[in-house]
């Protein structure tokens, strides 16, 4: 298993023959459905909290997602299997895979509604309340992940609507536009508010990412509406459409469950935002596309994304961590995303990296040497935070030619 990035070697998707790992790949189909169990965890934790009277149960889904998935990743390890060309052709358009997601979307909403019911109909300490809200936040975060997968399928009205419903849970309705047309175009350049720079902590990044993403989405949608001859406030504005779903749902929950919904939903939505920030932060940290002679950036290549090939987190995150293949082919559905040889690799699954990112000193000490290796010691080839530039050059720049 090749783990080290060799800058002079060409990155390539590892191709497997049809017989390689075929049993595992066949069973994977059902593992995606099995991973829906995570969306049932809030219901179970709510049930145990109510029956036992112990509010700590409400922390269950939140703790499981970080600690549980990280431990399962350690236990089950890497996923060496790539689907063969024949299998790709067979399963890439199979409706089954999108129906799994169609089932997941209402489950996310149900989980949040059940948690909202439980926190308002029973007495809990503030700590248990926080656990319930963060567990709801995990559902909002899953909504962003599922909305991401669905949102790329721009030709399928059903998947587009499901993406809007999934993203409405966290009020991130502008995501599909921002991500497809903005992030994918500008990824791994200083112009992209959703690509983090070397030396930029996640706390600094978030202040650039959240407003930058919204501004870019709005500009793109206004430009599209202008071509259609519509005003920004037209009902065809997809940002407004999703916002209306969010507002309606949140207002109903406020009406049914009372004022406690204000902090609850604020935490749920904020957590969804934060999870996306975490993902954006770790997916392209420090990586930079070169500028070509004509002033355009080189095309996004496999070496411009950080990957993780762990089995369990990849099932739950719909292969989001096979990020190089995703950026190489944004419309490729999750079930056929492939692992590449010789691409930048993180040493753990995304959930664990999200935790590391919370501690900038730890994050820098783990990731900065990796970025320097990736750039072969030439810090001019790194997407660099201008404030950190002098320090990082002093520490890592080895090219003096």
């Amino acid at each position: 298993m090749e783990n080290k990035f060799e800058p002079n070697m060409l990155a390539a998707a590892r191709s497997n023959t049809p017989s390689d790992n075929s049993a595992w790949i066949a069973s994977k189909k059902y593992c995606y459905a099995l991973s829906l169990i995570v969306l049932i965890l809030p219901l179970l934790s709510a049930y145990y909290a109510v029956t036992s009277g112990n509010g700590l149960w409400l922390w269950g889904p939140f703790v499981f997602l970080y600690a549980g998935i990280t431990l399962l990743d350690k236990f089950f390890g890497d996923d060496d299997a790539n689907p063969s060309e024949t299998l790709v052709e067979e399963i890439k358009n199979q409706a089954y895979y999108k129906y799994v997601l169609f089932i997941a979307v209402p489950m996310l909403w149900l989980a949040v509604i059940v948690l909202a019911y439980v926190v308002t109909q029973y007495e809990w300490s503030w700590f248990s309340f926080l656990g319930a809200a963060l567990s709801g936040g995990i559902m909002a975060a899953s909504g962003v992940n599922i909305g991401h997968e669905l949102g790329h399928k721009v030709n399928d009205k059903g998947q587009q609507l499901a993406a809007q419903l999934a993203l409405a849970l966290s009020g991130y309705g502008h995501f599909v536009i921002e991500h497809n047309k903005g992030h994918h175009k500008d990824v791994a350049t200083p112009e992209d508010p959703a690509s983090s720079r070397m030396g930029e902590s996640i706390y600094k990044f978030v202040l650039r990412e959240i407003p930058g993403a919204f501004r870019r989405a709005r500009a793109l949608e206004v430009a599209r509406l202008q071509r259609l001859g519509k005003s920004e406030w037209s009902m065809q504005n997809e940002i407004i459409q999703t916002a209306l779903i969010t507002i309606t749902a949140y207002a109903l929950m406020l009406a049914f469950f009372g004022p406690l919904m204000i902090p609850f939903l604020a935490i749920v939505a904020a957590y969804g935002y934060w999870a996306l920030t975490s993902a954006n932060y770790i997916e392209h940290y420090g990586l930079l596309r070169k500028k070509e002679a004509n002033g355009r950036y080189e095309r996004c290549k496999p070496q411009h994304s950080w990957n993780s090939n762990h089995k369990v987190s990849n099932l739950f995150l719909l292969h989001l961590q096979r990020h190089s293949d995703h950026h190489a082919h944004p419309t490729r559905p999750y079930q056929v995303l492939r692992d590449y040889n010789n691409v930048p690799k993180l040493h753990a699954g995304y959930p664990w990296m999200y935790i590391l990112a919370l501690f900038p000193k730890v994050w820098f000490s783990v990731m900065d040497p990796k970025v320097a290796d990736w750039a072969q010691g030439d810090m001019n080839n790194v997407n660099m935070d201008p404030v950190a530039k002098d320090d990082r050059f002093k520490r890592y720049h080895r090219k003096t030619l």
Binding site: V154, N155, N180, K181, H184, K185, R224, L225, Q226, R227, L228, R299, C300, H327, H329, P330, T331
Partner: protein, 57 residues
Amino acid sequence: MAKFECPDCAYIYDEDKGAAHEGYPAGTLWADIPEDFPCPDCFVRDKPDFIEIAEDK
């Protein structure tokens, strides 16, 4: 009418159909599509990358 294919995701711009959702109605000629037009499926290839499909039949 001419057709042009995205080299990455195989989306086909057909002048007969246009790209209505993106604001280019049916009948919009390829020549009238702006240079910075991104593929309306994958958004990672632009107009200059597209390949004209030879007329079949």
